[in-house]
């Protein structure tokens, strides 16, 4: 059975398979449709629904996995060296924040009540490193856009080229989220249970950190 007939037999499923990356799709879509047809033809009618559930349930994981492989290959083999290097540095700078955030979450601590409590260290891992990471990924993204523009690619097209810019965008986004969280989110203000209870904006948060009052928290 050729691919047109198979696509007509499974119209929705064949559309879902378009979510796979192009090279994977070109090579395996027809085979996947054929195998699905063989599977369905090989079971009694009353088991087909169960089979469909099995087929559909494993699709999201498989699509995400292939997308990740595809995106990683693009980053490693199809982007300039400075993008790879800066992306790596930017990602490494995010590691302390993410690691401590996970540890805090596991141990039931808030951002400003971390076990890793020291004013200078705190300032480094919640502000300086994420900010530096954001600056590096953001400037790398802008440089890359500029380089693409010089090669004749439109700005919009470059921005939409997620396959090549996903790492820079993701790191920039993460940097914004972390800094936004630190500066503006009420729940992470430094004064939960602390003498300076009324802090509710970024200036006061910074002041709270600057005067070191938070260092007395719980210690």
């Amino acid at each position: 059975m050729d691919i047109e007939k198979l696509s007509r037999r499974f119209p929705v499923y064949s559309r879902v398979l378009r979510l796979y990356p192009v090279p994977y799709r070109e090579r395996y879509t027809e085979q996947m449709l054929q195998t699905t047809a063989d599977m369905l033809d090989g079971v009694p009618d009353n088991l087909r629904l169960r089979l469909w559930v099995h087929i559909v349930l494993e699709l999201p994981g498989s699509i995400v996995h292939q997308r990740l492989i595809y995106a990683t290959q693009a980053l490693m083999h199809e982007t300039p060296t400075y993008v790879r290097r800066n992306t790596m540095v930017s990602a490494l700078l995010m590691v302390p924040f993410c690691a401590i955030a996970v540890i805090n979450d596991m141990t039931g601590h808030s951002l400003y009540q971390t076990w890793f409590w020291s004013y200078s260290v705190l300032l480094t891992w919640i502000l300086l490193l994420p900010a530096l990471s954001l600056i590096i990924s953001g400037t790398t993204f802008i440089s890359w856009l500029y380089g693409r523009k010089k090669q004749g690619s439109s700005l919009l097209r470059s921005i939409k080229d997620i396959r090549h810019n996903w790492a820079m965008l993701a790191l920039s986004f993460l940097g914004f989220v972390i800094l936004g969280l630190v500066f503006f989110h009420d729940s992470v203000r430094c004064v939960a249970g602390d003498p300076v209870r009324e802090v509710d904006n970024s200036h006061q948060t910074i002041r709270c950190i600057e005067d070191g009052s938070v260092t007395t928290l719980g210690l």
Binding site: Y28, Q31, M32
Partner: protein, 116 residues
């Protein structure tokens, strides 16, 4: 050590190589053989099957071969020499592990005599 640790094939890839060790097969035949070999414990869908096939193909452990007949549009796969060597290496490891397990009375009839 994890089944997906370096040097070890992931479970699905291992099962596919084992299924192809007898003869070349197309996708659905591979699925059936994997299910039979695992006594129904490993059931593949097209997503997991072709993801693993892609990786095995890229690693040179299997290769695509022409269909048996011109009318048959299915793609057939066969295990390569490198694939057979890899499967053999894994099997030898398992064989040694099973021997060890028997020696330590974790497996085999000795377990009954120990616990009953």
């Amino acid at each position: 050590m994890s089944r997906s640790a370096p040097g070890f094939l992931p479970q699905v890839s291992f099962s596919i190589l084992l299924a192809l060790s007898l003869r070349e097969r197309h996708g659905y035949e591979i699925m059936q053989q994997v299910e039979e070999d695992s006594e129904g414990k490993v059931k593949l869908g097209p997503g997991s099957l072709y993801g693993a096939i892609k990786q095995l193909d890229e690693d040179g452990l299997i290769e695509e071969v022409a269909s048996m007949t011109p009318q048959d549009r299915r793609r057939y796969y066969k295990i390569t020499k490198a694939g057979r060597e890899r499967l053999g290496a894994e099997m030898r490891y398992f064989e040694a592990t099973v021997s060890l397990a028997k020696e330590r009375r974790i497996l085999g009839s000795s377990i009954n005599s120990q616990w009953t």
